[in-house]
Amino acid sequence: MKKSDLPDPFEHARLEKGHGHFNDQDDAVTMLLRLKDVRKTAKDWETFQSGAAPGRIVVPSEVSIRDTRQIPFEVDPPMHTDYRALVEAWFKRPDEEEYREKLAKIINELVDEMLTRDSVEVVEEFSLKLQSRALTLLLNIPYDESEIWISWGTHVFRSEDSPVDGKKAAILYDYIDEQIDRAIENPGDDLYSVLLASEIEGRKMTKEEVKGVMILTFAGGRDTVINAVTNSIAYLADHPASLARLHNEPEITTRAVEELIRYFSPLTHMGRVATKDTEVCEHAVKANTRVSLCWASANRDAATFNNPNEIDLDRKMNPHVGFGFGIHKCLGATHARQILRILLGILAERVGSIDILDYEENIEDWEEFQRKVGYNNIKVKFNAKN
């Protein structure tokens, strides 16, 4: 096994019964493990709702630590459709040339710095910085604001002892409240101001709604992007031939990114609440109980993917659900895809090889399943291409 491998802990249960069980704060979750079941369930938002109590579709549940509803994530149609329509165009901006150029500049500067160092701890010193600086583009706010987010460290929304620590989340909530007040006093062309000026159902968006959108762009786009970037670097360290191929055949980059997302599945799963007694995969699901859509397991389903545990940069048919499926599919995917495409391009152009010096894996504990999702820390040396 290579250091960069992410084993699939779900295989046995996926084949044997198609679901797993996770006991979470007296609100158990049936994890759906097969690609077809995950897609069908994600599609059926009437039976499997997102608009339950705020925090309930997240696993582990955040019901006890927050009241703010995340938007559009914890909303069902028809409101969901209206919210998405409001923000969709904004979140497509990463495809614009000017945005991509700014992103390339951010990444090039970071790589400049890495190439001067004997050792880099990728999570804190590379991925967190990249994620934070890139987010200033998505929110359209000054670059320097990223310094604050970087200073929070990777664990701002997670505590060491408990994955749901209310005090940690408070840092973010207070920060966003302040930023909203600032935007009310001093409107600009940043996302806060744009949302505050938006209308939904013929009225202005409330402060609480704006907060619900902003929290999600911070929380949803943080660990996911950090893990995707860190895992990509570990992969390229272990596979110098892939780094060389990305250099010689840049046209494979788009496909490579989809394959990395499939394999890494940075978001393991997400919950839904059943609105009536129903059944998935011959398993009875009672009304008002939770299921989860396990993207990470679905993405290794051998019924659809040949050699699911191999990263195959040439995979042409790759119907992965790494960014979700159906109406709630990832709103930040355009941004995340551009980060990864540009990152791979720049690394291939400027880096000859990467050495892994030391690392500690980040293993998620879902009782029945232990899943490596990335690293708590990983030290590497970037060697310039000569």
Binding site: R255, T304, A333
Partner: protein, 102 residues
């Protein structure tokens, strides 16, 4: 060289010319509304869904199982639905008319 006509959801008819690549890529190059091609053509996003004019369906061929599984769950699916990223542009498709699905 093949002339391909896209009809968008608001009824706009746009005829473009292409030699290679996929129909999704051709649509993207020409900014056809409703064809986003988010996943770059690996059959993962269904943002390239079209209805093929029945007269041409034989030429474009039918969807593979993986593609069908995606289509089955997409909005506005019909008998002549295809994911345009899975159809290569070729001279044989000259005159093809496609209705953008979403």
């Amino acid at each position: 060289m093949a002339k391909i006509t896209f009809i968008t959801r608001n009824g706009e008819k746009i005829t473009v010319e292409g030699n290679d690549g996929s129909l999704m890529e051709l649509a993207k190059q020409n900014n056809i509304k409703g064809i986003d091609g988010d996943c770059g053509g690996v059959c993962s996003c269904a943002t390239c869904h079209v209805h093929v004019d029945p007269a041409y369906f034989e030429k474009t061929g039918t969807a593979s199982e993986i593609e069908n599984d995606m289509l089955e769950l997409d909005d506005n699916v019909g008998e002549y639905s295809r994911l345009s990223c899975q159809i290569p542009v070729s001279d044989a498709l000259d005159g093809l008319v496609l209705q953008v699905a979403n």
